[in-house]
């Protein structure tokens, strides 16, 4: 359970010190956490497949949904974000999110791991090497930032994007990750978020929505044909997201145990259910079950089960899948067109809304036998309030700070490319390359 990590990390740091400094001092203490090679194997794997979610997963999902002239630029965004987030995470993100911030710990972590200073080969976080935990968490920062690009597609300067992502990671992602998983005030309050409903999905969705509003619509939105140019790519992307999401959700158990196993099972169930739900909704209301529809539904299910994956049982997952399928279908195909913003690839419609649905339903369907916490159906109605608190705080903080960052960049270097470049396509104008 990810929200317990902070204490594990702290304890681990202590233990590491002890192991290398004075083994004899351990004789009387409780047995220190020991490296478990099975847990470590699973977390190494999880890290690899969560990275795969972004490159090539998100890159392909989004790349297939834009027009041909923008496909490379779109994939470039995910790839460059992957690199940028890694370096920032190493330099200060991990430290600020996951180390003890002392007096400020409710709000932000400390500087003890700046540049990963002091991270050793033998140091543990729980039963796995701290180096693995650090890299695993880096892949979460990467994907969250990459998801946002779905709202900004086809019209943003690459330089502005890089600036935004750098600032956003430091000022939005890192604090929220600390609040929920690093021992901050939301963890203390008892908000449940197993694998990132708030930190990852609501966060990305809301930032994306703010970005879409600040950037304005793509040229031709509503008048020209902006249809996805190659859904083959998007199907590959969605499939790799699904596969990698096992690392995301079951990996969030930070162990290869029954909790990880149950997280994998409910992930599979909710995803499949949401995909079918979206597909049938579309079939009924629009006449045809579409490929884009079923993969959108699958992603909606993955998103919604994310916060719940360590807390609910298979039946809970089934219901979460159905609700996520319907509500995200509504969000991406009806709400968006009604309100008129151009959330180009539906980062808000799927991740924002799916994240909110999942975070709320975690409060409803949490089962004590699964994750140790009761939800509303087991009588703990207060958990719904707690979840709403977590959702609300995330939305407000994320929206405000994202807005400020967007505005500052807009003033200083401009967010949007000029009209001619947008018409010609980002591949050629921003990156000097095209698909031949």
């Amino acid at each position: 359970m990810k929200r317990l990590r902070y204490s594990a990390a702290a304890m681990a740091a202590m233990v590491i010190g002890m192991v290398f400094a004075a083994p004899e001092a351990l004789a009387q203490a409780a047995p220190p956490p020991k490296l478990d090679s099975g847990d470590t194997a699973w977390m190494l794997t999880s890290t690899a497949i969560v990275l795969m979610m972004t490159i090539p997963g998100v890159a392909l999902l989004y790349g297939g949904m834009v027009r041909r002239k923008n496909v490379l630029a779109t994939m470039m965004q995910s790839f460059a974000i992957c690199c940028l987030a890694t370096v920032l995470w190493m330099m200060l993100g991990y430290s600020l999110a996951f180390t003890d911030g002392g007096d400020l710990n409710a709000w932000i972590g400390g500087l003890g791991r700046i540049f990963l200073n002091g991270m050793t080969v033998g140091g543990l976080t729980g039963t796995i090497p701290e180096s693995v935990f650090m890299t695993f968490q880096a892949t979460f920062a990467i994907i969250t930032a990459a998801l946002i690009t779905g709202s900004l597609a086809d019209r943003m300067k690459f330089s502005a994007l890089m600036w935004f992502m750098g600032l956003w990671l430091v000022f939005v992602y890192v604090p929220i990750a600390h609040w929920v998983w690093g021992g901050g005030f939301l963890a203390d309050a008892g908000v449940l978020d197993f694998a990132g409903g708030t930190v990852v999905h609501i966060n990305a969705g809301v930032s994306g929505l703010v970005g879409a509003l600040v950037l304005g619509k793509r040229i031709g939105y509503g008048t020209e044909n902006l249809a996805p140019h190659n859904l083959v790519l998007s199907v590959i992307g969605a499939s790799l997201l699904w596969v990698g999401w096992f690392g995301f959700n079951a990996g969030s158990a930070v162990a290869a145990n029954g909790s990880a196993g149950m997280a994998m099972a409910v992930t599979q169930i909710a995803t499949a259910t949401a995909a079918l739900t979206w597909m049938f909704a579309e079939w009924k209301f629009l006449g045809k079950p579409s490929v884009l529809g079923i993969i959108s539904g699958a992603i909606a299910g993955l998103v919604a089960i994310t916060p719940a994956s360590g807390f609910v049982d298979p039946s809970g997952a089934l219901i979460i899948g159905i609700v996520a399928g319907i509500v995200c279908y509504w969000g991406a195909t009806i709400l968006k067109h009604k309100l008129g913003y151009d959330d180009s690839l539906d980062c808000f419609g799927i991740h924002g809304i799916g994240g909110i649905v999942g975070a709320l339903l975690t409060g409803v369907f949490a089962a004590e036998a699964i994750g140790g916490t009761k939800g509303a159906i087991e009588g703990n109605v207060a958990q719904i309030g707690l979840q709403m608190y977590g959702i609300g705080v995330t939305i407000i903080y994320c929206a405000v700070v994202s807005f400020i960052i967007f505005k500052i960049i807009d003033v200083v270097i401009g967010l949007r490319i000029d009209e001619d470049s947008e018409r010609e396509g980002l591949d050629q104008t921003l990156h000097g390359e095209t698909v031949h």
């Binding site: 902006l226 996805p228 629009l286 884009l292 195909t333 009806i334 968006k336």
Partner: protein
């Protein structure tokens, strides 16, 4: 000489090619095109955004022929490419002033 341009349904290309060859036509040039006409297109809907696709895939055949063959060629294409459904396409015949075979420099009918 005439320059014949035929717009047909893509899956009719092979039969038309065979029929023309049978008539003695030795060369032609083919382009994938999109046609707009009486034949209705279809709609594609992506996450609720509907796009009308009015241009349908067609195949364009261009062939330069001797005047004497034009009528038979037209008739042959009509017979082979016809399905009877809207969208079967058109045949246009233009005057061709001059033809040259690049390999040999031959001109006019010998170039075809």
């Amino acid at each position: 000489m005439k320059f014949v341009i035929a717009i047909i349904k893509p899956f009719k290309l092979d039969p038309v090619r065979d029929a023309l060859t049978a008539l003695g036509v030795e060369g032609m040039t083919v382009t994938e095109v999109k046609g707009f006409g009486r034949q209705k297109g279809h709609a594609e809907i992506y996450r609720g955004a509907e796009y009308q696709v009015d241009f349908l895939p067609k195949t364009k055949i261009e062939l330069a022929v001797d005047d004497s063959l034009v009528d038979r060629i037209t008739e042959c294409i009509v017979n082979t490419a016809r399905t009877g459904k809207i969208g079967d396409g058109k045949i246009f015949v233009l005057d061709l002033g001059n033809a040259t075979r690049i390999r040999t420099g031959e001109t006019d009918v010998e170039a075809l």
